[in-house]
Symmetry: C2
Subunit: 245 residues, 2 copies
Amino acid sequence: MAGTGGRRERLRAETTAEIKQVALELMASGGPDAITLRAIAREIGMTANAIYGYFATRDDLITTLINEVYTALADTVDTAWQNAPVDDPAGRIQAWAQAFRGWALANPEGFRLVYGDPVPGYQAPAGGPAPDAAHRVCTGIAALADAAWPYAERRLPAHSDFQWSDFDDGLLAKVRPAFPDLPPAGVALALRIWGHLHGLVSLEIYGHLRTQMIDADKLFQEEIVQLVRSLGIEPEGRRPSPASG
Amino acid sequence: MAGTGGRRERLRAETTAEIKQVALELMASGGPDAITLRAIAREIGMTANAIYGYFATRDDLITTLINEVYTALADTVDTAWQNAPVDDPAGRIQAWAQAFRGWALANPEGFRLVYGDPVPGYQAPAGGPAPDAAHRVCTGIAALADAAWPYAERRLPAHSDFQWSDFDDGLLAKVRPAFPDLPPAGVALALRIWGHLHGLVSLEIYGHLRTQMIDADKLFQEEIVQLVRSLGIEPEGRRPSPASG
DNA sequence: CGAGCGACTATACGCCGTGAAGTTTCTATA
DNA sequence: TATAGAAACTTCACGGCGTATAGTCGCTCG
């Protein structure tokens, strides 16, 4: 067989990349539904069946796309919150939330692809289509929860009984080494924060907020402020010390 | 034309009902994607084109189904929270949240139909497919927010500047007469609560929580407790008076 | 009784995913 | 360098989809 630099393999990689890129363009212009093998082939100048040489089935292609799009989302939000000062946990949470919603608004079809029913009849593989990217996103929020934990802990009275066994091992493999001081309840807090923000963005992207409210942005900004406040850290770096509560 | 009780009209109503029921059965067993005119016709014993005598297009049928399913959801949650004691706002919120998630878990395909990308290529009509049901759901949460408002108000410091003009007129037409003491910020609070709960349930229904957590129920129960607490009302009726804060 | 209308079928078109079989083109080896 | 084989791609085919058009049957009412 040819080595890594073989001509054939290079062409193959290029064609694979082109298929994916055309698929993403179709999705951006016509929604996830527009991702059809025939449309991709038409655009590239191939026969639909030729794509089967690169992806075993349409669902395989979709899964790959979900992976890439989800990874792009994770990159975006990670970059955003990591660019905020380390000593400003409230600012980091704000950055995460704004980046998450901003990405969703800029890539609504991508959001639907990752978080919705992507495409007619699509069946995600066992363990989800993009577990790594999902864990990355959750780990990002866990970082925010970890930074806020000294403040938030006292706001979450000790009735919650989360244990490590409640969580997915793949997630914990990333979270526990990175944030050794974050207890199970802290991970639960991270997931709840994720849920809060995902809920509003999801309602907005799918048009359910628009039928209730003119300006979804205002609602989201309020949500961020209240989220930060509920964690016991004030926006814009003005926050009490953990000791003074 | 025949009167309201005419034989023809009765038969027509029966066939219309049968089409919708078969569609819902197909959805329950095979997901929203399974709702195809041809499958419905096959099940009923008609030709696919015969359905065009009852619904102008497939999207029309889908819109009707969304309306019915959304209404069923609204009925369920309304019944649930209204059955809790009036003087137990925390219990009512709990009832709403449990009923919402319970309905979603019992009717995951219905949840996807209402809140997700229902069906390949479906385009919801302007104003959303089921604005009435959506407003009913939001009005229900507004009732909960209204009951909690005397307690919650002091937890939401006065930096939010919501106005009536921020919200949809159809929603306000239901909310303002029913809860004359609830200010715009209270409606915003209701929408945020909706977002919180929708987010977690949506992540769960679409399988995104399962890749992070073993027991989504535990997370949701924690969410309810913290939600009630954040509003300043204690669970199970033990709550401070608004005056004592 | 007969005209008209409503309910329904038959046929057809262009989409879709995908399987089977055939063809071309490149590559590795004898 | 000749050649066997693999890889890339095409052609043809099948069944499913929404839906447009035209035609058919039977009930109902004047």
